[in-house]
């Protein structure tokens, strides 16, 4: 029998990183989620951002990729993780077909840029396309289950 693991539903613009293992669920459209995992400590964290950059308006929240990734790394470090032991998995960033804004692509781009800045290796990714995704991230093992949403609608 597997031990009961705490569950957490991650809303857009939020992030989650705790020492105890959790199963984190989230749903992505054009949003991107970066799952970080410290292989040595076996702890993980995940964010869920909607736009690539904070433009100086409103609160500097993890709604924005540049802030969400930095804050997630910070929080992981606070939990004892270290950047050298971290690996990343990146998901989401679907693009609405009729939109020229390409928010999905830009969201993916910022993840790659920032992660390479911190020299964190992206070991898996499933990004782009036009279909939304559901994620299930086990922060204790670093394993991510993913499923495409049935409807093509973007969240």
């Amino acid at each position: 029998m597997e031990e009961e693991i705490a569950k957490h539903y991650l809303y857009p613009s939020a992030l989650f990183a705790e020492k105890a293992p959790h199963i984190v669920d989230t749903v992505l459209g054009s949003c991107v989620a970066v799952c970080l995992y410290d292989q040595k400590l076996k702890i993980g964290g995940i964010n869920h951002y909607m736009l690539p950059f904070w433009n100086g308006n409103g609160l500097a929240s993890p709604k924005f990729g540049n802030i969400a990734i930095e804050k997630l790394i910070e929080k992981m470090i606070k939990n004892g993780a270290s950047v050298e032991n971290m690996i990343a998995k990146v998901f989401g960033g679907a693009n609405q077909m009729d939109s020229t804004m390409q928010i999905g692509n830009r969201n993916i781009e910022i993840a790659k840029e920032q992660l390479s800045h911190y020299k964190i290796k992206i070991v898996a990714e499933n990004t782009g396309g036009t279909i939304g995704r559901k994620l299930k991230y086990h922060t204790g093992t670093g394993q991510v289950g993913m499923k495409f949403l049935e409807k093509t609608g973007i969240i």
Partner: protein, 300 residues
């Protein structure tokens, strides 16, 4: 067959490339302009933060000084019951203001940290609004403002949302309607539910907001009225955190305003489908997340 172009085709191709080039140049110009704008905003943001820190000192120090002084007077004890009661009211009013400001600051910090969990429950909108209005009674009374509340929501109709955030959103709108109102002015609050959306408008007879400033008011730490002698108190976080909270609970805020006449802020909030889900897992689109057994799962 050789792949030679006719002169016309060649010219057309050249023209296409030139067009593309100028388009790229145009885009580059746009990008530079955007970059500049962001840069300016960042500088402004830094200034605002500095401003905020010096501002918040007054906002916190002054009420605390009054609370200390007033309570000391009461402790000394040589006063009649009426005076004591009056002091009690003043202490409560100062403490209430402090509490309200702290709530805004703490919630902003939570949202910026990405740690402001939603807790959706069934809410009686009318009674929450009644409660908020009466909590601001002292300030309303002091400024001789008439508040009317028209609740068009059926009795016993409950709306699913995050109460704490809803409460703070409405408190901010009411607080602003009082602060920026004129002495003896009025405030009208109307609440209704249409198409499963909660719509609340707060109308004041205050100074109003010019078109130019309508977007700026949501910027963090920004107050339109700055300088050493500020006419209005506060720290410039209220509308920023209000807007951020609304985004989290799937709401929007709109403003119509005329300078010198007043402002109407209207919030529209979507109802959450799953209320009181104690697993903490509730989806916004009604999907459930318990997939696991089926084979289409991709593992990474």
């Amino acid at each position: 067959m050789k792949n030679e172009l006719t002169d016309t085709e060649l010219l057309q191709e050249l023209k296409n490339r030139f067009d593309k080039n100028s388009l790229l140049l145009e885009e580059e110009k746009n990008l530079t302009a955007q970059l500049n704008a962001v840069n300016e905003k960042l500088i402004l943001s830094e200034d605002l933060k500095t401003n905020f820190l010096s501002n918040i000192r007054n906002e916190i120090n002054n009420p605390i000084a009054s609370i200390l002084e007033l309570s000391k007077n009461i402790m000394e004890g040589n006063m009649d019951v009426d005076t004591m009661k009056r002091f009690g009211v003043l202490i409560h009013a100062e403490a209430f203001d402090l509490d309200f400001q702290f709530k805004n600051i703490f919630l902003s910090a939570e949202i910026e940290a990405g740690e402001s969990p939603l807790s959706i429950i069934s809410v009686n909108v009318g009674s929450i609004l009644d409660n908020i209005i009466s909590s601001f009674e002292y300030r309303i009374h002091k400024k001789k403002i008439q508040v009317t509340f028209e609740n068009l929501i059926e009795e016993f109709h409950y709306f699913h949302t995050d109460t704490e955030k809803f409460h703070l959103i409405m408190s901010n709108l009411l607080a602003n309607a009082i602060t920026f109102n004129r002495e003896g002015g009025s405030i009208k609050i109307v609440s209704k539910i249409e198409n499963n959306q909660l719509i609340i408008s707060v109308q004041d007879t205050g100074i109003g907001i010019s078109d130019k400033n309508k977007e700026r008011i949501y910027n963090r730490f920004l107050q339109l009225d700055t300088g050493s002698i500020k006419t209005y108190g506060g720290h410039g976080l209220g509308l920023t955190v209000t807007k951020a909270m609304l985004e989290i609970i799937q709401g929007e805020i709109t403003l119509s305003s005329e300078v010198g006449v007043g402002s109407i802020f209207t919030v529209t909030i979507d109802q959450f489908e799953n209320a009181g889900d104690d697993s903490g897992i509730s989806s916004t689109d009604g999907n459930d997340f318990l997939f696991g057994q089926d084979e289409e799962d991709m593992l990474f």
